[in-house]
Every structure is written in C-alpha cells, then in structure tokens.
Amino acid sequence: MSFDAIVVGSGMSGGWAAKELAEKGLKTLVIERGRPLQHQADYTDFVQPWELQNYGMVSEAESHADYPVQSQCYAFTTATKHLWVKDSDHPYTTPPDKPFMWIRGYHLGGRSIMWARQSYRLSPMDFESNKKDGYGSDWPIRYEDMAPWYDHVERFAGISGAKDGLEQLPDGDEYLPPMELTGVEKEFKSKLEARWPTRRLITGRCAHLTEAKPHHQELGRGQCQYRSLCDRGCSYGAYFSSLSATLPAAERTGNLTVVTNAIAHSVIYDPKTGKASGVRVIDAVTKQGRVYEGKVIFLCASAIGTAQIMLNSKSEAFPNGIANRSDAVGRYLMDHLSGLGGWGRVPGHHDRYHRGRRPNGFYIPRYRNVTEPGDGYTRGFGFQGRGQRANWRRGMNSPGVGAEFKQSLRSPGDWELSISGFGEMLPRPENRVTLHKNKVDQWGIPVVHIDCGLGPNEQKMIEQIGTDARAILEAAGCEDVQVFKHYGGVGLGIHELGTAHMGRDPNTSVLNKYNQAHDVPNLFVTDGACMASGGCQNPSLSYMAMSARGAHYAASFLKEGKI
C-alpha cells in the first residue's frame, strides 16, 4: 500500500505530524506498534476509589515479574496498568551498573494519554546553550524559528497559564485562563520573590482546557472538571492527547489511515533515488512482515524507539543505520534529573481550605546560570511544586488508635509545601543507545542496549537542587523541612531525548534545521530524538511544535518537488 506520508508512532509527536500532514492534503498513514485504544471507552476515569482493584495497588508479584521498570513510575496503578508496557514482553538491556528506567506505553496515542501535561516553551537561552558552553551540537535553529510553531500548537492544544514576562520562559501568545494558586502558594511566592527577586514563582502552564473554545468543542473536547484522574485518560477530553485532539483532527480530513499492532522494523532505503521508499513493519499479533510505501516518512516513535528503528535500517549505503553517516544516531541520549526536592510544613491558615483537585501546581523557572551563577556546573533546573493541606495520609506513620485517632484525622491537616527539581542533562556522545549484538525480541527485532549515566555536571546540579530546595523552603517559613536528594535514576524523568539530533554539520549531527535527515531528504524525525539539548522544561510542547514545523516543511518540499 502506498501513501503520501507515513508517520511512525501515534503519541505526542506522531499525532501532531499526522494532523498537520493530513490537513495539508497528504494521504497519511500512521503506524502504531501497540493495540488500538479508544477515547472514552477504554478509560477508567469513572471508577470510584473504593471500586479500584486492590485500591490501585498492582500485585507485588506481578509488578516484580512483569513490570519491574514500569512499576517505578508514579502513575502505575491498577487503573492505568493497561497503559504501560509489560517489561517482560518488551526487553532491553543496560550495563549492570547503569540502570536506565525506560517508561513506555504501547497503544494508540502512546504516552500522550499518561503524560503530566506541563507545557513550557524552550527559551532563546536554551537554543544557544550548546554553542555557548560547547556541549553537543549547536542548534541549527533559534527560538525565533520555533516561536510561531509554539503559538500554533498552543492554540490548538489549549494551554492554561499566565503571561509572566520571563526571558528564560517565553510566554505563549494565547493562553487559556490560569488555574489559581492557593493562598499558601501566593504567600510562598511573595516570600520567595522578596528574598530573591529573580527567583520567580508562576502558575504552572498545563495542557488543560480551563475554557473550551469553539475549536476545542468542535472536536468534542470539554472543560477540565478538576478531578486529577488524568493518567487514567479523560473522558471529557479536557487535557490534550492524541486521542482527544490531534488524531480526531487528522481523521476529519478524510486523509488519515491508522494501523495498530504494526511494529516498525526498519525504514527502507532506495539507493537509486537516494530516498527512503517505505517502512517495513512486523504485525504484533501474527508476526508477519509487510511493507508500506510512502513519499515522505516521519519517525515519531519516541527518542529511543526512533533510534532503534534507524539503527536497524541497514543497507549497503548505510551499514550503521539509515541517515547515520555521522554515527550520531543513538548518541547524546538525555533525560531530565528528577525525583529531587523538598517538603515543609506551613504554619497557620487553618481557616482556609481548597475544593477540587487541581491537576497542576506552581513553577519556579530556572534562575541558576540565568540571574544567579550555578555552583560549579553549566545549565540549570526549575522547581515544580504545590501548597495544599494534608489529609488522612498524614497519620499513616503516627501513633494513635480509637475514636480520638479517628477524630484527629477527620479535619484537614496542616498546609504543606513541596517542590520538585527538574534539571538539564548535558548532551554527551557516550550516553548512547545501540542495538544488542545477539538478543532479539519476540518479533525478531534486535533489542536496544541503553548505556546512559550522569556526569560531574549533573552530580553538582543534584547537590545544588537539594541545597536550594532547603534554603527556599526555610526562607518561606516552613517547619520540619525535609530534602530529598535521592535521585530516582535516569529514565524516570520520562523525558528521553537527543538520539537523532539536529545540527548544522552533517558530519556530526543527524538532522538539519527542518528536522530532515542530512543523508536522506525525505526522512524526517520530529520526536524527542531531534533535540540537540533538552533545557530543563518539560519537553512535550517542544515536540508538538517541532512536529508541526517539520510537517510544514516536508509538505512544502514535497509540493515543490524537492523531495
């Protein structure tokens, strides 16, 4: 079967590529390796707490046997188990001393169903960082190239937030109303900004419809109901996902075809034309191979998945994988440092409470190596956090029994502030995905070997995240401050990126400034793999913008007969 465009992957990036290509009139095929997942029908968001299997806890034996990696994800519960891969079915390897937690969902919509929905732009500083400090490749684009595409995707997706006027975190053009901070968060903001005027606290920006505009309603999307059951899927379509937004938009053009249970094995290279001619897939169920042909191919299989497909696309012209003359495919793997931060109790304000479950918090954008120097490292980190009152869980480790104990947990507890740091990892060539030399999965595809660790820059940053978390919480008047310096491990940021990065030099990078492979003009990569650096912001919004931008150029080049 032949199409104008083939998009491999249906998650955050693939959904956007499909929508944009289909809207430009291209007959577009989306190839998804996982099973179909139906918006609303396959969600579990109407299950009550007391109806949850095992109160949400997945059997310990099953977690251990089948989900040893996925079960480390905060959103792994009996209500979401069907959205995470069985590690036992989808193996990969790492060096024994360098675990990498690869958190994945193989189904239509991918991780756009379970994502944490924080939506921040990269800034001018982020696109200049590689050039400035010399790590990784200089981005072939700057913020100005991306700004209109951020505008474009934010409007369609619907991003709630405020314009805060910060250079290191550019504002959107058209935000939906921000979710209000609690009084304790506002007080924290004023104390923080009084002590450190350039450490700013803003309302989190998130992909939730705080107001459903007509172009959202057209797709059947409604307003956020403040349930915070998001990672089960939202039947209101209130947060952005491929299933709530991009795939329905692509569908209504009449140009979309979706195949599920189709595992991309490799991209086929035609040496006569010097272009990619199609994608070889293995049927996940029958394990039979077949080929789809396309004029332009988008890889949106997630950073590690895309690298795996490229490395497995071997030909005489590309013995090390398609479009890999630079040997950069698979290298420069990054994640965000995560699982670090602090907690403190806030005295007072017992006469105030909150109602509803806000699926969002506050954000303290990066200030280290922006307005204040970092302590012996380059780049920086931001803090996400929230300030709310405790519930009965505060009694989980406390002594007490009987009616008094019950009575003591009946009222809301103290206000508590928690902040969690997200730090930038440097792009380093030795952090690398390769194909295993002799191990294949049940579909005969070589499994990936992920060799990724932290360097001294990351270690110093981790130290300062802890020190700053303590200082910030203490300055705000918190009591019983606790700092979490334990780093959960690479992968648990669930922000993999960098494995087929954009650059100016075809000898050292994989993609040009149009997300087009230097070596294969009709091959585009717009998922996390394309990123030359990661900033410290949650990256999904950048993948959306990159995918829309890449699709625009691919469609133009196709029309102009350039590819």
């Binding site: 007391w50 997945v58 105030r352 909150h354 009965w392 029994v401 009946r410």
Partner: protein, 179 residues
C-alpha cells in the same frame, strides 16, 4: 464462590476451630464474607484490631466499612509471599503480646482492656519502627478512608468536583477530602 457459599464455609470453619481458638468470638465479622487468606483466628484478630484502630462513632468504623475483608483480599490478591509473611507475623506478634498481657487472644479479652492494650502496643511498635505492624495499620487506614463509608461519610469525596476553589473558608467542623 457465591456469598452464600462463603457464609456457609465460614460457619463450618467456626465450628471446626471451635470456641477454644477464638475464645468467645465476636461474630460481627461473620456478617462479611469468609476470609480467603487468613485463618479464622487471625481474621478474628484482624477484625478486632481494625475496629479498635478506627471504631464506629457517629460514622461507620473500619469493621462496618469492610476493612477486615478488604485486607484479607489484599493479602490474597496483592501481597507478595514476603509481604504475606510479614503481615501474618505482625498479627501473630500482636496475638502473643495480648495473650501475655491480657491472658487471652485480643478478641476474647475483656472489652474494657482491649483499647488500652492496643494503644500501648501501637505506640511501642511505631516507636521501634516495626515494619510489619506499621504496614498493617497503614492498610487499615487506606482500606477505611478509601472505602465508600470512609470516604463519603467520615470524610468527603467528590468524584467530579467540576471546580477548583483554592482558598475557601474552613472551620473546626470542616471535613478533610479523602482524596
């Protein structure tokens, strides 16, 4: 197994173990389903401990909310062999202590002394960070506060709040949200 079958089985278990093992059993738990994992005496102890930790007041307590059966099901369906052993051992340790201090299994001890006994036991176990007991108590709390009576009668729960009100008045009678 239908609920009727379970009740029939429970009756037969009670007959088999007799009054000696469970003392003068508080048959309140017999209103629920038969335990799937715990032995009848251990289940009777769990039932009593749950009711002592979170008693019936003006709202249902742990027993009325079905906590003993919920924990028994978690032992069967969720807990690993290691966790099962740890939690069973924590019940057995509690049983040994009550026999030593009260001269009887907790459910059979004079009602007046049970709460004071558990209050001391709880304080000491938490002071020494007794992992098994602390996990047992956490399961009692979790299965109570996330049960329908715990979440909606003792505390408050709204599945679809529809609003976010970040700073509303609260008084001494304001109930916490269960989730």
């Amino acid at each position: 197994m239908s609920p009727l079958d379970r009740r029939a089985l429970l009756k037969s278990v009670l007959v088999l173990v007799g009054a000696a093992a469970v003392g003068a059993p508080d048959l309140a738990f017999a209103q629920g389903a038969a335990p799937r994992f715990l032995s009848a005496p251990r289940f009777a102890l769990l039932d009593e401990v749950s009711a002592l930790i979170i008693p019936k007041t003006d709202t249902p307590g742990a027993r009325e909310a079905g906590v003993p059966n919920a924990i028994d099901s978690l032992l069967a369906d969720w807990a690993s062999a290691e966790t099962q052993q740890r939690l069973v051992a924590s019940l057995d340790a509690l049983d040994a202590e009550s026999r030593a201090k009260l001269g009887a299994p907790l459910p059979a001890a004079p009602a007046a002394g049970r709460l004071a006994f558990l209050r001391d036991y709880d304080a000491a176990a938490i002071a020494r960070q007794d992992r098994g007991y602390m996990q047992l108590k956490q399961l009692v709390m979790m299965t109570y506060y996330l049960s329908e009576p715990g979440a909606t009668e003792e505390l408050r729960y709204e599945h679809v709040p529809g609003v976010w009100e970040p700073w509303i008045p609260a008084g001494p009678d304001t109930r916490a949200w269960a989730v």
